[in-house]
């Protein structure tokens, strides 16, 4: 049974397009401590579609700029460079952050919304509470990618498996039903994609952060916390929303008080609203542009 499942997942991983070179390069640069704006701009400018997505995002109604921004470097100055990783990942053909999660009773939009809110929350926690141990770009990218395993196992659930849903941690339920959790499946994909070791570790342990390697522990706790923050504030992925256990030891790695957490909830939500709308608008205009192109 488990072997069967693993085989199915491996076949899916085989079929998933690898990350595009531009995205890989961007993720690499953004995680470097001393990267310059110029490096990011140079990569974005090699890619016409990404360039257009960046400009459409910054000029969307959500930001209500007085004058349009016309260059990639001005756009990145305004938006920050982490969001560029978000745009690049959302565009990926693999669709890992944008796939329909029918097995979880969640649509593609919920999947993306969850990834984006987790990313924004993770960046927020990294910036304010990690004592400089985790870079914002890394936290953000990990937030987008943490649940890539869900799209792999989503199709393996059958309709009736959740009818008598138990009150247990959903990771345990996944293991009980399929023999493997979305975290473990995501780890397999992360290895295949040759993501940095820390990223693989975070994907694997984001629901059991205490098990993560020492090097990746703080980041794993950040993603753990950001993930639950996203679910609590209305951006879950269907059936597993709120069905996870918080490991309260996050407070050993992040100096965050209950009051900080409440303020974080609020500020993350505001930032999320703006960013979500801006990115949505940019992808919609890209879609309509592409369909015009097709019709010509």
């Amino acid at each position: 049974m488990l072997e069967d499942t693993i085989k199915k997942i491996e076949a899916q991983i085989e079929a998933i397009p690898v990350l595009s070179p531009v995205t890989s390069e961007l993720l690499g640069i953004i995680s470097e401590p001393n990267h310059s704006l110029h490096d990011v701009v140079a990569i974005v400018e090699t890619d016409a579609v990404l360039t257009s997505l960046v400009l459409k995002t910054v000029n969307s109604a959500a930001y209500a700029l007085e004058r349009p921004i016309e260059t990639v470097s001005d756009a990145i100055l305004f938006l920050g460079d982490t969001i560029i990783a978000g745009l690049a990942l959302r565009r990926e053909k693999s669709g890992v952050a944008t796939a329909n999660l029918s097995g979880y009773l969640a649509d593609a939009d919920s999947n993306w919304a969850h990834a984006l809110k987790t990313a924004i929350a993770a960046r927020y926690f990294a910036k304010r509470f990690s004592g400089g141990k985790v870079r914002e770009g890394v936290a953000y990218t990990a937030g987008i990618l943490h649940d890539i395993g869900k799209s792999l196992i989503s199709t393996l659930f059958t309709d009736d498996q959740f009818t008598s849903i138990k009150d247990t941690e959903f990771i345990d339920l996944e293991k009980e039903i399929l023999g493997i959790s979305h975290a473990e499946a995501g780890y397999m994909l992360a290895i295949k994609w040759k993501l940095p070791a820390v990223m693989c570790d975070v994907i694997r342990w984001h629901h059991e952060p205490s098990v993560a390697q020492d090097d990746s522990k703080v980041l794993t706790y950040i993603i753990h916390l950001a993930d639950l923050t996203a679910m609590m504030s209305g951006s879950g992925t269907g059936i597993d929303t709120m069905r996870h256990t918080i490991d309260s030891n996050y407070s050993k790695y992040l100096s965050i008080s209950d009051r900080d957490l409440e303020l974080a909830f609020f500020e993350i939500q505001l930032e999320y609203n703006t960013t979500f709308n801006a990115i949505q608008a940019s992808f919609e205009s890209l879609k309509s542009y592409q369909s015009v192109e097709k019709n010509q």
């Binding site: 969640a106 009818t163 679910m231 609590m232 879950g236 709120m242 609020f266 939500q269 609203n273």
Partner: protein
């Protein structure tokens, strides 16, 4: 079906329109608090995310629905706007609430859902109100629709049959 008003996180609204519907999606630890006026048949709803506005008083001015303490007076105001200034006294008002789920937490500190529900009850109490129907807690998310015509609140959650309060 009447006109639906969709409320996002921290939004609030009221309708006295026949067959109007107030709806909010995916309450996790957030709470939907609803006030129904038996006399005017006006209904209202706020999607409350946090217990206290003191964490960001300036923002609370522009987003009163976000916090338990500022949401209740905001609901009263929105009901008055919907009815042309009429709001019945407390004994003609029915309050319902739902949401406020909690992730399981061994230390019991990560319980914004519980604290939201409690803060709303406290805020209601100031106006002599208490929830007649209270569907808070648990570890699942809820989507909520309030029907003006019947005052019935329909709740759905992924993987569960819908239920009503």
């Amino acid at each position: 079906m009447g006109k639906s008003i969709i409320l996002g996180v921290g939004d609030f609204g009221a309708t006295a329109e026949t067959n109007g519907i107030l709806k909010t999606y995916a309450l996790g630890s957030c709470v939907a608090v609803m006030i129904l006026d038996k006399k005017t048949r006006c209904v209202s709803m706020a999607h409350v995310a946090l217990p206290e506005s003191t964490i960001s008083p300036s923002k609370a001015m522009s987003l009163p629905g976000y916090f338990a303490d500022t949401a209740i007076p905001a609901l009263f105001e929105s009901m008055k706007r919907a009815t042309g200034g009429i709001l019945s006294p407390a004994n003609d008002l029915i309050v319902k609430m739902c949401g406020g789920a909690n992730v399981s937490d061994t230390n019991n500190t990560f319980n914004i859902g519980k604290r939201n529900a409690l803060a709303i009850k406290k805020a209601l109490w100031k106006y002599g109100l208490a929830p007649r129907a209270d569907d808070t807690g648990g570890n699942f998310s809820r989507t909520v629709a309030l029907y003006q015509a019947t005052g019935i609140v329909e709740i759905s959650s992924p993987g569960k049959e819908n239920w009503k309060i």
